[in-house]
Symmetry: C2
Subunit: 721 residues, 2 copies
């Protein structure tokens, strides 16, 4: 049996057990974690040693000498109602002073903004004054009962990840790591010098695991030491006076505080990005890539590998961005919450390998007496395996306290099995292109930059407003389809890419994922309409193509055959409520789960095939448009049933129903992955129960098979003749 | 026992029974109906005779001689996607040719419009042509995959009410009544001449019951003879080439077809009205009032009374409009669906009396063997009686076939009881001002013009999108509060009227009832904010004050303490979900029914009192703002429980909780109405069960009482001293 491709966490005084597990799991690499140190003896094992490395924090002796090089961010005060002509705004209210310190080094009249939020107007700088003692701005000649805000520049004096860990785990007496800024001269030099020395001091390290580079995603806490704001994609922490000056030089215009504050939304990824924000992202990415490359080059010069953790200080390094390749990373490692997050890692281009850190984390929240961690591991593995079958990671790994996991022998055995299964899959299909039934494009404002990252607030966390959309990517992650991510701007510029069978547009109205005002662009709507008319498939979920304009809300309502009633057309009778009883899309379904669902969607005319109708509204429908088809869904939270529903919808939208019974199964709890180059098919049971299914191969044969819980069964096909 | 104040329908060959019922019910008036004729002997009874009179239809011999004077309307073709440079639009598709005939008498290039609905641009008239044989418009040089519509002028060749009755009842061999237009010279003269002669020919008629005057609310049918569009407030049927020319002369500018078509919404009352539409309403109302007065003058000259039915051809006569008084109507009669529709009639100013036609209608859908019509009558009476206690009608009446009702002796007895109770109430409280605990203003785009008419599509019909708001007016209709209706424009011009305790703003975002873009007006928002800050109460229901602007959706979110998450601020943590366990507003409640409810409403900070929280969102809350308060509700469908909930909310918003136990009861199924001038209180049981309740009079006394089902009990108070 093949070994390797697995990274193990270890700790001090745990050598024998580490060695045992290393052998059983076939680990070929061992890592330290936040809060653990490797035993010296471990370093002598026949494995690679991964060492966690922090670039921009953990050096307070340096940071305190250069307070002017502390990382910065723009923050918005509370909205304050004027009850007279004078308004006093305590702009630090709600912020954690351990983390946030107003920037009183630079001229506030130049770098801050006071805004009348009732009108949106900027208040003249001579109309307000700053009191640095009380952290208050006082506005004169205000308009009573208008609302005012202060956009202020601050220093971030506590690294957000350390802050999170320290507060969450109640660590005592640990100094707050002050993040310093690579854009500043001393910090820049310090980071390089320190790494150079570190590389010399760590001869045992084979792989430097950067966590990550320079800028943390936006994360700040409130006065009660609880999270106040988190945006996994946020560029909030990259700003500084120097960055603003450099930006003006690079792009030829000056940014306002409001370009960061964005009405208090801080350029959430759910907002259609402004041109200025896109310019700023580009500016930061180019800069971060250049600086990251400098460190990676040092690692390489020392004969080691450089691997990057996808998270924490990852801002500017986005692996699907246009500058990532320049960094020259050897690998990326990320946390696997399911299939979509796995694909987010395994699809990353321009690296030699990718690694997924699997769940559960070896922490006491899962590893406690009476709990069976195998269950979580099994569920995590089943969702991840679907994605692996399409695009495998090159390595898997775990994190946390190995000594804790060791107390659960069933768990140790189970991971041994998973590790073998992973290596078996990897060795079989790596470098092999799987059979692709359909080519699917997810269309939103972000396109490829946010591949496998749509509808995400904080990494893998559930929010009521997103789970009904996240099921789409999770379902797609393990389907025998190709998935690409395209942006509205690309479609406007160059049309729909060649070869796409189905486009998916999904999200709440006005969000970047649905598109909002983009749908006022006549080039966009005509391009998509024409493309569907000539045979394309369009699947809309939630409020697709939605912006109220010229008598309709869904701008492609004539493609979908449905629109959403906003109250303006109640006078128009809506007669269509008859469900098409037999339909390709709903063949496996009797009940539906649309998650948060969508209200008041109705059919425009009798040509819409209504597939689900309840509560006086449509939640699932299809419609012919020329040679193409539109399919509407009210929501798609992840489940095996909804995965099947989407799978059927894709075939239907693409007009390829007759190909559905090729390399497929009748039972939605199973899936088939076929690899033509090696003439092998994998039939998988994605459930924890025994499943019986019809299995259709690609040659027209059908057979009944029974799969054990979680089973993966290979079928080999030999050359005919 | 007092008699009178009741109108009875009758029919031929039913004299003796009519006489019997007349005496038992105390009727003092008898009317004919559509499809019935009064027996000659009935006319000799000691009652007034009401005769139904149609002004603008029922004279096809005249109408056919003057086809150019047929009533008109603007209609929109189906939205047609261009798939090449040439687009053919069959603009009559979807319309009932029995009702609609394109206007080929006037120049289509002058009066029609072809619009590119993708851009909103009007297509040059030389780019399209009309084929009058096929009813098609062909557009040349179209942009492929844009969508196009034709706005065309048509004649309405079948009166909508007659069409509805004829199709619904499957009447055979009855010619279609062609509606003719009082704005046209021959029609105008004909209407007057005919009425003059008719008055001479009907000496037995005491009261002419106009049904109604000139223009029907917008109602057209589709090709399958089913309703296609209905708007009880729609001015669609008032338009004509002559009206457009007259309008230009009167108002100094020309209207476009689009001012009527309104993107296909036809100026639904749910739309914020455009300036042009408001001008047009004014123009029509002034004209209709002038012409209606001419007919009423003829009736008066003949020594008869003129009464108007509130419905059907009522457009332009709106009783709360500024020209209604000029007509000189003696009375208005309308259909009573519940308390709100009763108040819509009983609050009408400038008439000598009002009459409500009660339910059930004497039709076979209720009066069939095995059914007990007393139940419907009792329910209708209980909802209506609440409103009568605040503002009584002067008369009640019934409609349909008396011979049918006569077969249900329990029903005849029950109405006898209702009639006596009505007269008892009327004689006791007519002209007496009831005690008013609070003054409530309903704030929307329409104000007083649509008093008691908000959120209505077709008279008293239920729609999924409106019932959660209609409960507000229904609840208010019988509460011991004063209700006025104010418009945004009034508040912007002159502030909140004196004496108002609570303002209610309710509706879905962007509708005229919520207000949409009005909430961008800084005069409006500051006026309301300041008013609440100084002690006013604001109740918002659904999506109040909602328009996305400068970082918030509810523009008065700081008054309500809540806003609605649109997806842009998901990154901001929302911690507040703790329900205030003991609160004045929720004192009687354990369960809630918010109807269609509202999603994703959250608290802005800890100062909001959350009163209901489920499904990760708030549906009921209150918040202090200065000396005033804001209350938020997700919806308020009508029920006795919700009436109580609103009642408590009003007291709370007005900061008058300490007055709640005056002239009130502890049991939500009961209500108290006090009349200080006569020192009488009425305690009513609004339910069909026995109710026990604490009763609080206005002097601090409390007693327990038990009320029989539906009971109304008077209490007399004598002068103290």
């Amino acid at each position: 049996m093949q070994k390797g491709r697995l990274t193990l966490p270890s700790e001090e005084n745990f050598y024998e057990e580490t060695k045992e597990i290393m052998e059983r799991w076939g680990a070929d690499a061992i890592r330290d974690s936040d809060g653990t140190t490797l035993d010296e003896k471990v370093k002598s094992l026949p494995v690679n040693i991964y060492s966690t490395y922090f670039v921009a924090r953990g050096h307070n002796e340096f940071a305190e000498e250069h307070p002017e090089e502390t990382q910065q961010l723009y923050l918005l005060s509370e909205r304050t109602t004027a009850t007279s002509r004078t308004v006093v705004i305590s702009f630090m209210k709600g912020y954690l002073k351990e983390q946030i310190k107003p920037d009183y080094l630079h001229n506030e009249k130049k770098w801050w903004e006071v805004i009348d939020r009732t009108t949106g107007e900027v208040i003249a700088t001579d109309q307000w004054g700053l009191d640095k003692e009380t952290h208050q701005v006082t506005i004169q000649d205000a308009t009573p009962f208008h609302e005012y805000t202060v956009s202020f520049l601050a220093y971030m004096i506590w690294d957000p990840t350390q802050m999170y860990n320290q507060i969450t785990n109640d660590w005592k007496n640990i100094p707050h790591d002050i993040p310093f800024d690579v854009r500043q001269p001393n910090s820049n030099q310090y980071m390089k010098d320190y790494l150079e020395q570190w590389l010399i001091d760590h001869p045992d390290t084979d792989v430097v695991r950067f966590t990550t580079f320079y800028y943390h995603f936006t994360l700040f806490f409130n006065e009660e030491r609880k999270e106040k704001f988190v945006d996994w994609f946020g560029y909030g922490g990259t700003v500084s006076v120097k960055a603003l000056i450099d930006f003006e030089e690079a792009k030829g215009y000056r940014l306002r505080p409001e370009h960061f504050i964005d009405q208090g939304y801080y350029n959430s990824t759910f907002r259609n990005p402004s041109k200025e924000y896109l310019d700023y992202i580009d500016f930061i990415q180019e800069f971060v890539a250049k600086e990251a490359k400098a460190l990676v080059d040092l690692v390489h010069a020392a004969g080691k590998e450089a691997i990057m953790f996808l998270g924490d200080n990852w801002i500017g390094t986005e692996p699907y961005g246009k500058y990532f390749e320049r960094i020259g990373m050897d690998a990326v490692v990320g946390s696997v919450g399911g299939g979509a997050t796995l694909r987010m890692i395994s699809d990353i281009p321009h690296v030699k390998y990718t690694e997924g850190r699997f769940l559960p984390y070896f922490f006491p929240d899962t590893f406690y007496e009476g709990n069976n961690p195998v269950i979580e591991a099994n569920e995590n593995w089943l969702t991840a395996r679907r994605a692996i079958m399409r695009k495998p990671l090159d390595r898997i790994g775990y994190g946390g306290y190995l000594s804790l996991a060791y107390q659960f022998p069933d768990f140790i055995s189970y991971i041994e099995k998973i590790a073998d299964e992973f290596r078996d899959i990897h060795s079989t299909i790596k470098e092999v292109t799987p059979h692709t039934a359909l080519r699917v494009a997810v269309l939103n404002s972000w396109g490829a930059l946010r591949s496998w990252q749509s509808h995400m607030v904080a990494h893998a966390l559930r929010y009521k407003q997103i789970y009904s959309y996240q099921g789409i990517l999770e379902a797609l992650s393990g389907m025998p389809v190709d998935v690409t991510f395209i942006s509205f701007d690309e479609v406007i510029e160059s049309g729909v890419p060649e070869g796409i069978d189905v486009i998916i547009n999904a999200g709440d109205a006005e969000t970047s994922f649905s598109g909002g005002d983009y749908w006022l662009n006549d080039k966009l709507v005509t391009t998509i309409r024409e493309w569907v008319y000539n045979g394309g498939g369009l699947i809309g979920i939630g409020e697709p193509t939605a912006v109220h304009h010229q008598g309709q809300f869904f701008q492609l309502s004539r493609v979908f055959g449905v629109d959403k009633e906003l109250g303006f057309s109640l006078s128009t009778d809506k007669y269509f409520d008859q469900v098409t009883p037999e339909h390709f899309i709903t063949k496996d379904k009797t009940e539906f789960d649309f998650g948060e669902s969508m209200k008041n969607v109705y059919s425009l005319n009798e040509s819409t095939e209504i597939l689900e109708y309840s509560n006086e509204e449509i939640h699932l429908s299809s419609h012919e448009f020329g040679k193409g088809r539109g399919v509407y869904m009210a929501g798609l939270p992840f489940s095996i049933e909804n995965t099947r529903l989407l799978y059927r919808s894709l075939y239907y939208a693409a007009h390829k129903e007759e190909e559905f019974e090729k390399w497929n199964v009748s039972n939605p709890y199973c899936e088939v992955h076929y690899y033509p180059e090696i003439k092998k098919a994998a039939i998988v049971n994605n459930s924890l129960e025994i499943q019986e299914t019809e299995y259709f191969d690609g040659t027209g044969n059908k057979e009944s098979i029974v799969l054990k819980p979680s089973e993966l069964r290979w079928k080999e096909y030999h050359d005919e003749k």
